[in-house]
Subunit: 374 residues, 4 copies
């Protein structure tokens, strides 16, 4: 048997696991033309309401997981630990803020107005004075938030409804009509509300996805398994709180949850196009034949493609999955006639896990200049 | 291309990840003759001193990771969050206790007396009245603990010493002589104190290993990588708090940290012997030859064996690793003469990662009845 | 910062990865009363037909993955590499056999009769003379196999059929009637043939699952992800080739593929019952209340339970997954009346991934003696 | 309990594991200015000598693992399988070549001259006629290779030597003097030859690292654990066989094995510099204070940094590990005076796992423009 490599770095190695845990992995989703893609979780709790961690933990978790923006939104009305922790509105923000500055994260002052359904729970972001929301009457509270310029979102709209299917009550019409429902969670933790997605599309409400995490995040999401916490991708003009606010009010979001991206075509399409890359698309294919196209997905999101109408003279698989950070090979047969006619080859697909609406996959084209001839 | 298995269990699968996180994995280390092997972490913190989680989190973490016994040992003298959480001695135990009952865990009422070095920090277990330890004078506090019948251990003895090498001060002699140093941490978190181990062996002090965890456990240990938190194996006559106390006072412990087990030979040897199993040791080897012995390690601890003196007439590898929950094959050459002389084959090894003292591996014998002839 | 544990085992560690790869993991599925549960893959190829590995590789792969029995079944009629490797029937068995003896595996002399559909491909196991199957006429070949006492199975019955749905041709009736179809693959690689399963149940044909592997196994199954290759569990009276043969002819098999077990109730039920264990079922529950039952699954197969009729006076979750090698907690509410009436609590479930027939889950009862009172 | 996300993509998911295995992951090591960084394994075997796989397997393995260039170098003199596979020199190349074209890999016609030590084994790359190397006399064979323009490397120079320490025999002087030793393996499989590295540096021999793989690659390297096979990074002007040949003859290589990179400073330094990136180095630090620098390592190689002389007025950790594809935070204290004097901050480190010679780490500087003020 051969002798083996001796590890030369014993001491460094012994420090490895702990230290590596304390590092940041980036979420591999690209920026899009004109915008930064900020990764945001806008709904989380601490021991200052019914969460189970100290506020600084939320910052450290977020930094490690590649987030750019968080909002701690402790309940206004619910304080199960008040026997031990006297109620102080906005205190979790104050404690977490200096830590966020060290880590370079944006933290938004927020709170959750927490009422029986209807109208349910509402996160108010960008507050100036959290305590002022502590009002007996729901409408007083929500108007106070509005007066402070808050972005207001309806949280987990299916909560406490049968089969978690949300119901649109009169209160919600009133909120919407008065500009008090700026966003809506279509994803909350492991729950997905397709009907809420339809409402967002129909009424132009900003699409949001959050964790609503109460436990240490690692107790709810298996970080080792790429069990991504749900987040909202916010498309901003710069890395500031003001830019996040502007983008939210203007509906520039996509929700990322499990392996789904949910949002408007105008954002999903550039996310897809800036994620994929053709490795070998520059060959001569004028005489037709069979080519092997290598397609690279630079993002961490898989893309499940289903071919729609295969153009005449072309033959290729009906189902292709572009695995995250992988290159896959797609055989492509081009007839001689088709080759003669072409100015570039366009393969239409639907991406089943990029949703523009309930059950509606994004339509894309993969455009090939050429290919390695078999 | 063939059609594929359709998943028939969509709904169940969608619940999988979250639910699986909320399950318990057992620590695969066997009981030994006469005793249960209880898995214990006897040093941890919550927001009631300088920890970062609510007390119930410590119970849930412990249950998931296969522990049987925990002690939350919030500091008596250190309360950085008291502006928000007024000091209540023993409160973390009170909050955690009902949860421990649901999960079937033993939780021990404890506290950490926290002084400058010397004498340093001391965990007091099995207290009746935590608040009574809040004394200006160290000796008053520690005597109070003793009066309550506490098991007292010196925590992280190298803390704040140069290169973390512990120093035995006069205070420690005094504590030891008065029966106030019943245990000592030879492992605290990622720190190992070999000198403390020597002291424990020399002075018959109970050997202890703990996490001293402040963060959510998953921020310090990568549970997915089998990055085991350090624990103390306590050998008890039954699964009760009293039995744990009796075992601790009588020194029946082994520390499990990384891939090391540290303790007395009388406990390490049965742990080893009850972990391994020979798969095929019943063949006829009377005529000598080359055999392939399959050795199974049923435990989750790897065993790094170094052969010491190879008995005459036998030839086998000098280094063998028995991987956790794996079977390895060991070639064994037996000369004809050796085969004639034998009443069973005994292969002596040192297990380098089972330590009876600083740098001292456990001596074991692998006893083979026979083997599959090649 | 504290000093850290120095790794004391540099040399041993440097050998670790290679050596660990060369170890055996056991498949954690229990024996059942009266029988050993042997893990068998009875369909695989080498360079002696159209496989891509040397025959000894099949033995090493099988040993590492915990198999007990293999059959290399190179094609009689198909030899794409014959320009480089002259045809020698049975040669792959001869080469692999000595290696199997070293590793303690049972290897069965076999071949695959390979014809267009109908009748398709048939594995013949326990042959004496492989070359004698090289006959121009299919029926001559299959009768020769029968004359040698072979166990004959229809491979991948949906192969080359539309949507891979198998068709039962006249040839198959003839084979079946003449006792020439002793087994049938309901699983071949990643393909599942539910209709074949129905036929096996209806006609009492032995249910089989195999890989049909051509590549190195690690190119088709991601061993690191617990991406189990499909195997046949054969219930034998001892660990011999004769016992395997007897069990196959008598239909004592269960197929294990992905997270499914497929077979007769008489084998699935004891597999389930010997896999699970109630951790705390001995409490007094005579006064009713809410209990937390901890259920342990000692096997590597998850069990997806759906509760059928909840007995009156009992309340517990409708869906429970018993994760592999994990303990899960099931809350159980018992009414006072129910408690009075009971002699033990029986909870009926269907296990959705243990199939006795197409779409038919196994019915089981979880029997509880008592429980930890909340 | 909330309802859960239903997987919408059952069919696609059922195809996932197999298909994902059949995809290519890129090796994340950057190009350097002026050169492409091609990933090459130049020493591997098939069933045409003593390897255990069909030649096409070597291509598929290499494509999946992100290699760009391979050489199958079956032995000229050793054919243990010739009873079954008649000797055909160069046949493995012929079989593998069309597959390499489909996958877009460069495959080099090669062979291994295989003699007792001295002189040992020599890989000859870029051959025109492999059979012509089948000569009784070693020197005839090696001169024939030279006449064909081959790049000749000494394989595993410590092979069959005591403790695997290589010996430089007269034959090696003769080979070197005649231009017949163009490269040398400093890494072969899991073996590292530090003395060979010294010779390469001293005599300007091209540094090479290869697997010398005989088994399916997944049996020797645990691909799931990032257990990278050893490769040679070749710095070429384009992606052609000629460019690889030119680069090898001109010594433009770095060996990548485990977490080590071994080569000349002129290649290691740009590899390091193009791998790291400072996330936040643009702040004003003119008044001094404590800053938190976030350093990103875009490569898949960890960098173990040890600080050498800390410049006056600066304070930062002595040991930093830049984990692969992670961001780590480095606290940096700058005194007011130091801040005034500076035109940019340069932090000198040695990278312990980037070796320019035996035991000699690469010296680097991390240059900081600014930092986020704490």
């Amino acid at each position: 048997m051969k002798t083996k490599i001796l590890f030369i770095l014993f001491i460094a190695l012994s420090l490895t696991v702990t230290a590596q845990l304390n590092s940041r992995r980036e979420i591999k989703i690209p920026d899009i033309p004109g915008y930064l893609t900020l990764k945001c979780d806008l709904h989380m709790h601490t021991v200052f309401s019914d969460g189970l961690v100290w506020p600084t933990v939320r910052v450290e978790e977020a930094w490690r997981e590649g987030l750019d923006v968080i909002a701690i939104s402790d309940h206004i009305e619910y304080h199960p630990f008040q026997e031990d922790i006297p109620v102080k509105f906005g205190r979790s923000f104050e404690i977490a803020k200096p830590r966020a500055e060290i880590y370079g994260l944006i933290i938004i002052r927020a709170a959750e107005i927490t009422r029986q359904m209807p109208p349910g729970h509402f996160n108010c972001l960008f507050l100036e004075d959290v305590a002022a929301l502590d009002q007996p009457d729901f409408w007083d509270a929500i108007h106070e938030a509005k007066n402070q310029g808050a972005f207001i979102m309806w949280n987990h709209p299916g909560w406490r409804q049968e089969n978690e299917i949300p119901i649109w009550y009169d209160d919600h019409t009133k909120l919407y009509d008065q500009g008090l429902m700026n966003g809506m969670e279509v994803i909350n933790g492991r729950s997905y509300y397709p009907l809420a997605l339809e409402w967002c599309v129909e009424k132009n409400i900003t699409i949001i996805g959050n964790t609503d995490v109460h436990s240490p995040i690692g107790m709810d999401y298996d970080l080792s398994l790429n069990d991504q916490r749900p987040i909202t991708l916010v498309f901003t003009t710069d890395r500031t709180e003001d830019a996040v606010k502007e983008a939210l009010f203007n509906g520039r979001t996509v929700v990322y949850s499990d392996d789904m991206l949910i949002g408007k075509e105008e954002f999903l399409k550039p996310l897809f196009n800036h994620s994929i890359e053709l490795v070998n698309d520059d060959s001569d294919f004028s005489s037709g034949g069979t080519y092997n196209i290598q397609i690279k997905n630079n993002s961490e999101v898989p893309f499940y493609l289903i071919s729609t109408d295969q153009p005449e003279g072309l033959e290729y698989p009906e189902v292709i999955t572009l695995y995250p950070e992988r290159i896959v090979m797609m055989p492509l047969r081009i007839s001689r006639n088709a080759a003669n006619d072409m100015n570039g080859i366009k393969l239409p697909f639907v991406v089943k896990n990029l949703l523009t609406n309930k059950d509606t996959g994004l339509q894309v084209e993969i455009v090939i200049k050429g290919a390695v001839k078999k």
